[in-house]
Amino acid sequence: MTGHVAHHFDDAEQQFHAANLGMWIFLATEVMFFGSLFAAYTAYRYMFPEAFVAGSHSLDVVMGTINTAVLLLSSLFVALAVNAAATNRSRAAAGFLVGAIVMGVVFLGIKAVEYADKFAHNHVPGAHFQFHRESEGEHAVDGEHHVSVNESAIPGGDFQAGHNSPDRTLEKRVELFFSLYFAMTGLHALHMVIGVVLLGIVAYQAWRGAYSQTYFTPVEVSGLYWHFVDIVWVFLFPLLYLIR
């Protein structure tokens, strides 16, 4: 079967390697895309460790853990789908991909519940943002480096007299944590949505029996994308949910 080999490739294997390499180069740019947010996170967590701990404590660790497990399970399904497609079991691959899609949708559903909770508690950055140290169950942090920071360096900082109380300052810094939380999980969720659509197309093709030992490039390449999105979450989970 050579019908799928484009004229500028010698054979199916060379075409597969080219597609694979292209996907990895795209993923390298994705690493830098998410990397800029991780860099912002690193700098601000270094400057305001206390606020990041306080903000993190208000996130639901149980939901975060379940979501991580759900995403890891979806990655297992995708890996099994690639294996099935590469061993001439295109229909089985379709089944595994549907499993991965279901897990992806479950992840997004849990994320939606968490977002709704943030809106309910006014933890969404903006005009209505509120964060109170007492009510959030804040704990003291040991061994944190205290970096004294010019108050005017805080984005959206309020310089009016009477508004620079320690609680107000903490609130502004926690707002920064939640800005990063929404930017990072939001960008991740957008990638999930794109991934679900991508896997849906590949699952349909797999159901039609389009893939075999000689041609399973779309399953492999879209699988790489899905695994990458999983890896991003593997780092997001401890960095956002598990700060002490």
Binding site: E13, F16, H17, N20, L21, W24, I25, L27, A28, T29, V31, M32, G35, S36, F38, A39, T42, A43, Y46, M47, P49, V53, V61, T65, T68, A69, L72, L73, S75, L76, V78, A79, L80, V82, N83, A86, T87, D142, G143, V147, S148, V149, N150, Q213, T214, F216, E220, G223, L224, H227, D230, I231, V234, F235, F237, P238, L239, L242, I243, R244
Partner: protein
């Protein structure tokens, strides 16, 4: 074309290892020391990522050009973080800068400069 993909059996083993590491990272979140907590959490996350990259993403069957592309993104990210933090970690605390003789003299120097070159200052800024 010979298909080089991870076997189903390996996939299940790797998934089991990932779940164990997930439980470990939640337990490790109990570490009270802030810095040690970050290091342990990032170590576990890195091991998880490597398992996914090597097994799920079939990089162990990939040629060296592909492996180079795999490494490129992550090396770029490490360079970004390393150079950025080499700045933040070596800055003087702001308090020290504010009490140094140079910064104490700064307002007067600024005022003198404004008197000499008023055109250099945007309208609306009063000195």
């Amino acid at each position: 074309m010979a298909a080089h993909v991870t076997s189903s059996r390996s996939c299940y083993i790797v998934f089991g290892a990932l779940l164990v590491l997930l439980v470990l990272t939640v337990i490790a979140a109990g570490i009270e020391n802030h810095t040690l907590g970050i290091i342990v959490a990032l170590l576990i996350a890195t091991v998880k990522a490597l398992l996914i990259i090597v097994y799920f993403m079939n990089v162990r069957f990939a040629d060296w050009v592909t492996r180079l592309a795999v490494a490129a993104g992550f090396v770029g990210l490490i360079v970004l973080l390393a150079f950025m933090m080499s700045d933040y970690l070596t800055r003087d605390p702001v308090d020290e800068i504010e009490t140094s003789p140079v910064t104490r003299a700064a307002p007067e120097a600024f005022e003198a400069l404004a008197l000499l070159h008023p055109e250099a200052f945007a309208p609306g800024i009063s000195v």
